[in-house]
Structure formats: structure tokens, C-alpha cells
């Protein structure tokens, strides 16, 4: 196949990526978009394999091992662990780009490379390596392998600064002397830098970090495309690099944050320390009383939050809802856009438990319904129902739109204690008249509620 034909076929694959990404942006077309993009990828691979002058043993075994590992992980993973899996996949993509650039360097075997090739090899190794370790730290945080809270230490900025200087020095040396050692050094320091950049960020901010690292892995692929003059890599990489940036921006906006705030603030570092400092008296309730209140309500709204995911209580809540519906109670779910720890977390979770799509209300729909709601059941949610975001200008989350559960007749909050949520701040809702607390694990509470309901 001539280089021209190949480039045109790569272009077709790139068009598939563009159409795929576009369709991924709308609920109705998202799944087909993913399939189209995958088709483009398959096409790019096949085009590359035709007439390829490659070692089929290495290639075949590599493809097989990779496909088995990636496929198994994707099929086995639990719904709630998907974000960390995406992070891990992303890390592999980053390191692959760095390795391809490295292999290209090795292949030159001492022959002098043009300046721009050296430059793009450096970029590719640097970005790819940062993406690799950065992604795996994100993975470890989300998977609970290391503590999710921001890890800070004195002199952090100094260390990062020194490492950056080290990379620049090595890059200059590599550019001038084409010394292999300099490239290894860049790769090694970049690996360390990836760890140090992500470690100080709180576990709950990881979705944003993953989106950003995803953009970086696109950039790394594009840089590698320059190294080997391959248009498929350049286009695909640039697409992901740019759309990843926009996605990162959209995600921080949905959380009412800025990117630099996410990356550098150590936000959430206080979440364990500040605890229920302020406060006042709370009114508690029991599953039995709650069952009666629910059974005689006509409209119930369930507001799920991160605690629901932690407790894996999605099936339990669905069962309670079925019991209530059998009694003629109308049940709806109020989904805050940033409830949980990843965008769409609650939707995915409840969908897994077969909750019908049309019972999931968005922010505005829920807030319209709440004044006509008898009982609102807050299940492991905290920040997304915190009235300080609306009332207290001094609050760190002031301005974030919330689910205004205090407009409903009765508010029941199910959580294990008075501990704060992700933002690490106290919630006046708990101390309000009309709010009743049920201190329990969400799943246990719902199971108890279910049996109590059968007795009502």
C-alpha cells in the first residue's frame, strides 16, 4: 500500500473518531458513537497491518496479551470501579506513546536525528511518562490502595521545581548531544513528576484529573505522530487532546470549581479533620417510624449521594421503591449533577438496579417537584443538599446549585454519622427543624425499612 493510500485510509478512520466523539455527546446516540469510534480504530489498525514490515511474533503476542488483559478488566469491572479502570487504561495509553517514541530513538541507533524529531521524542516521552504514573496514582486513590485524601508535605513546590529544572536540563543535553542517557533521565524524572503532581489532589477530584490526563495522553499520541510522521496519530491525538481539555473544563464547571483550584488547592484536605464542629441538636428517627411516614405519603423523592455508592445500596433502594409503589405512593429520584464521585455516578448506579430512566429527575425537575413532596429521603448525600451553598456567602461551596430538599414537608437523612461529605463542611440541614436523621449504613437502613414497610 502506498504511503498516500494509507494516509487517506487513516483519514477515514479519523473521520470515524470525529463522528464518534460527536455522537458520544448526546444520550440518544452515545452508544453508537462509541461503536463508530471503535470501528475507526479497527480500520486504522488493519490499514497499518497491510504490507507491514513487522515482527509478527512480537506483534501477535502483544496484541493478544493486551486484548485479553484489557477485555477481561473491562468486562469484569464493577460499575462503581469504572472511573479507576478508565484511569488505568489511560495510563497504559500514555506509556505506549512514550515507548513508541523511545523505540524510534533506539532504532536510529546513533545516527543523527533531525532537531524536530528529537524535540518531539522528548515531548512524547515526557508527557507519556507523566500520564502513566499520574493515571496510576489516580487509580490507586480511587481504588483505595492509597488514602484518598490529599497528601501534602513541606517543600512540595521546591521538589517539583527542582524536578522541572532537571527535565529541562536533560532535554537541552538530549537536544544537543542526542545522548541516550539524557532520554532515560527525562523518562525517569517524568515518572516521578506524574506521581508528585497527582498525590496532593483529593480522591474526589480524580474524575477531573483523569479527564485532564486523558487529554495529555492524546497530546502524547500526537507528539509520537510527529516522531514517526504518522497522520493517524497526529489527528487522533489532537482530537483527544483538545476535546479532553474542554471536557475537563465542563467537569470543573459542573462542580463549580476552576481547574487550578482542583490541581493546586488541596481541596478536601480538611474533610476528615473539620468534622461536626458547629452543629446543634438533631432529631433522630427509626426505620419503623420512617416506614409509616413513607407508607402514608403520596409523593416521595429519593435523593441519592456518594454514600449510596459506598453502601452499594442501589438494589435495596429499588426494592423499597417497589414496595411503596405497590401502595400507590409515587416515587421519583432527584439526581444532582455532581452527586457521587464521578459525573453520572448516580444514573449509572440506579440504572444498574433497573430503576426506570424516567423516574430520574434532574436538578430543575426535582426542585420543581420538591414543594409538592411529602417525604424526601436523602440517602448518603450531603454536599448536594447543603443549604449553605444557597444561604451562606462565606461557605466554600457558596453558589453551587443544590437540591432544595428543605422545601419538602419532611426531610429524612440516612447516613452513618454527622461527618461531613466531600467538601468537608458542616450541613445546617441536619440541625433544622423538620429534618430527621437516621444514623445507619444506607444499605442496612434500607433493608430494615423494607421489612418495617411490610409490617405497616
Amino acid at each position: 500500500m502506498s504511503i498516500d493510500t494509507r494516509a487517506l485510509l487513516y483519514l477515514v478512520a479519523a473521520v470515524a473518531f470525529v463522528l464518534g466523539l460527536k455522537r458520544l455527546g448526546s444520550p440518544r446516540t452515545a452508544r453508537s458513537g462509541n461503536t463508530i469510534a471503535a470501528g475507526g480504530m479497527l480500520m486504522a489498525v488493519i490499514v497499518t497491518l497491510v504490507d507491514a514490515d513487522v515482527s509478527w511474533t512480537i506483534l501477535g503476542s502483544g496484541l493478544a496479551v493486551g486484548a485479553i488483559l484489557g477485555g477481561t478488566a473491562a468486562i469484569r469491572v464493577q460499575m462503581t470501579s469504572m472511573p479507576q479502570l478508565v484511569a488505568a487504561f489511560n495510563g497504559f495509553g500514555g506509556i505506549a506513546s512514550a515507548l513508541v517514541a523511545g523505540a524510534e530513538f533506539v532504532k536510529a541507533d546513533g545516527l543523527e536525528l533531525p532537531t524536530e524529531t528529537i524535540f518531539t521524542i522528548i515531548l512524547s516521552v515526557l508527557i507519556g511518562a507523566i500520564t502513566f504514573t499520574g493515571s496510576f496514582v489516580a487509580y490507586a486513590k480511587l481504588q483505595g490502595l492509597i488514602g484518598g485524601s490529599p497528601i501534602t508535605y513541606p517543600g512540595q513546590k521546591m521538589v517539583n521545581g527542582l524536578l522541572a529544572v532537571g527535565i529541562i536540563t536533560a532535554a537541552v543535553i538530549a537536544q544537543i548531544s542526542q545522548d541516550p542517557l539524557a532520554f532515560w533521565l527525562i523518562g525517569a524524572v517524568a515518572l516521578v513528576l506524574g506521581v508528585l503532581a497527582v498525590i496532593p489532589i483529593g480522591g474526589a477530584d480524580m474524575p477531573v484529573v483523569i479527564a485532564l490526563l486523558n487529554s495529555l495522553s492524546g497530546m502524547a499520541a500526537a507528539a509520537t505522530g510527529f516522531v514517526i510522521s504518522n497522520s493517524a496519530l497526529i489527528i487522533g491525538g489532537a482530537l483527544v487532546g483538545a476535546s479532553g481539555l474542554i471536557l475537563t473544563k465542563l467537569m470543573t464547571e459542573a462542580m463549580n470549581r476552576t481547574l487550578s483550584n482542583v490541581l493546586f488547592s488541596g481541596f478536601g484536605a480538611t474533610s476528615t479533620s473539620s468534622a461536626a464542629a458547629t452543629g446543634g441538636d438533631v432529631t433522630t428517627t427509626t426505620p419503623e417510624d420512617l416506614a409509616i411516614a413513607l407508607a402514608y405519603a403520596s409523593q416521595v423523592v429519593v435523593v441519592p449521594g456518594y454514600g449510596l455508592a459506598v453502601a452499594q445500596a442501589q438494589h435495596a433502594v429499588r426494592e423499597v421503591a417497589t414496595l411503596l409503589e405497590a401502595r400507590g405512593v409515587k416515587v421519583a429520584y432527584g439526581i444532582h449533577p455532581v452527586a457521587g464521585r464521578m459525573p453520572g455516578h448516580m444514573n449509572v448506579l440506579l440504572a444498574e438496579a433497573d430503576v426506570p430512566y424516567d423516574q430520574l429527575l434532574d436538578l430543575d425537575q426535582t426542585n420543581n417537584l420538591l414543594p409538592r413532596t411529602d417525604v424526601v429521603l436523602v440517602l448518603g448525600a450531603n454536599d448536594v443538599v447543603n443549604p449553605s451553598a444557597r444561604d451562606d456567602e462565606g461557605s466554600p461551596i457558596y453558589g453551587m446549585p443544590i437540591l432544595e430538599v428543605d422545601h419538602a414537608a419532611t426531610v429524612i437523612v440516612v447516613k452513618r454519622s454527622l461527618s461531613p461529605g466531600f467538601a468537608g463542611i458542616d450541613n445546617p440541614l441536619f440541625y433544622r427543624e423538620g429534618t430527621r436523621m437516621l444514623f445507619a449504613d444506607a444499605k442496612q437502613a434500607l433493608t430494615a425499612l423494607g421489612s418495617a414497610l411490610e409490617d405497616v
Binding site: 473518531f17 484489557g70 469491572v77 506509556i95 513508541v100 487522533g236 481539555l245 453520572g344
Partner: protein
Amino acid sequence: MPGIPLTPDVLSPVVVGIIVFVLAAFVGLELISKVPPTLHTPLMSGSNAISGITVVGAIIATGAGSGTLGSVLAFVAVVSATINVVGGFLVTDRMLGMFRKPKRPEDTK
């Protein structure tokens, strides 16, 4: 080529690369404008799979004349990139499969 008076020489690959990169980046920027938060996670995961396009580079890197070190690097690159591509598209598909469709009426069109 005496017949083509105004195309005496061609652009260097780097310049072509830059032009292509800038245009593709603009496409990427414009594509994702108003995606609802619900789809952020699948979109991230899908575009992550696309960044696995580097698998093409990895395949080429397994080419002849790489020596032992080159072959090792290439092998690891192929494995990593394939994990990214295969796993990425599969997990996105699974995720999107969980979003149940609303009732019939909205299905039309």
C-alpha cells in the same frame, strides 16, 4: 516535474503535521460543546480509548531492525496500547449500555 509550474517543492512533514494538528485540535474543541454531566464519564472513557490510536505507532515500532531493546520496548508498547484500546471501548460500551432508554415515544426520530 516541468508541468506543474507553481508546485516546485513540497511542504516538509513537520509543517504538514502542524497544520493537521491545529485543524484537528479545532475540531476537537468545537465538538464537545454542551454535553450533559451524565455523559461526562462515558465521554471521557470513549475519548480515552481513542487516545489509544498510539497502537498504530506501536505496531509500526515492532518493525524489523529494532534490536533487542527496541523489540522489548515495542512489545510493551503494543501490549499497553492494546489494553487501552480494547479495554477502553469495551468499558465505555458497558457503561452506556446501562443507561436505559426512556419509553417508546422518545425513541422515534
